[in-house]
């Protein structure tokens, strides 16, 4: 089955961990992930600025490793990310900010990418939200 996965939760919220475990299980079972789309507070789950204690799960690092290892399409909503101070180097330069926290394999893009994924996938699976 082709899955699109949307994450709306920050990395310290349980839904962010569940999304990663679901994605790992989906690939392990031979399914395809057409796209990961991080929106709302989910943009923090793609941030390379998150620092976890040594004895705690480093979820953002695990996401990065997972997306790289499987060459997945990992998209972070640009409007939601800017609003939350989560920028890549281009946006940091554009808005005169000193910190960039989105780097490869993640890319900033628009909501059209979510709709495209919804159209391509057999199932959209959402994690997090109010």
């Amino acid at each position: 089955m082709k899955f699109a996965i949307a994450l709306f939760a920050a990395p310290h919220q349980p839904a962010a961990r569940r999304a990663l475990r679901f994605a790992q299980a989906a690939l392990a079972d031979g399914h395809e992930i057409v796209r990961l789309f991080f929106y709302q507070d989910g943009v923090h789950s793609a941030s390379s600025s998150v620092v976890s204690s040594q004895d705690e799960l480093d979820l953002t690092a695990e996401w990065r490793t997972f997306v790289k290892a499987h060459n997945l399409d990992g998209v972070v909503c640009i409007a939601a990310a800017l609003r939350r101070g989560v920028l890549d180097t281009d946006e940091a330069t554009r808005y005169g900010r000193t910190a960039a926290s989105i780097e490869a394999p993640w890319v900033l893009s628009g909501l059209g990418q979510l709709h495209e994924a919804v159209q391509e996938a057999d199932r959209l699976i959402c994690f997090g939200g109010p």
């Binding site: 949307a6 929106y39 709709h115 959209l124």
Partner: protein, 119 residues
């Protein structure tokens, strides 16, 4: 044929960026001419009332974006009647032409759409 997407908006307009960001998904889908439905549920029904005063909270008014829905081709608007009743809003006129749905109609609505996003 395009897959249909139902977006369930559950947040009050003053509760943070949630309601606006949910609406942005709807409007983006409309811009791509996709079959999108929008259901106002729980505190999301508060978005449907006129005479909001977001300036008092130094917030932007969501009403203009909501009124843009028909311009983006989004005409499938629904509102949970139970959520309105729970909030004492059963008799208040709505600012948008949303169809009121009872519980069984909600179930039928969810079954009708290919994909669902709840925010």
């Amino acid at each position: 044929m395009s897959k249909s997407l139902l977006i369930i908006s559950r947040q009050a307009p003053w509760s943070g960026p949630g309601a606006r960001e949910t609406l942005d998904i709807v409007l983006a889908g409309g811009a791509y001419d996709l079959p999108i439905g929008l259901l106002f549920l729980d505190d999301g029904v508060f978005q449907l009332f006129a005479e909001q005063a977001p300036k008092a909270l130094q917030q932007k008014d969501l009403t203009a974006n909501l009124q843009a829905l028909p311009l983006f081709g989004i005409e499938a608007l629904y509102c949970c009647a139970h959520s309105l009743g729970e909030r004492g809003l059963g008799q208040t006129p709505l600012a948008l032409p949303a169809e009121l749905l009872d519980t069984s109609a909600l179930q039928a609505l969810l079954a009708r759409y290919d994909q669902v996003i709840t925010l």
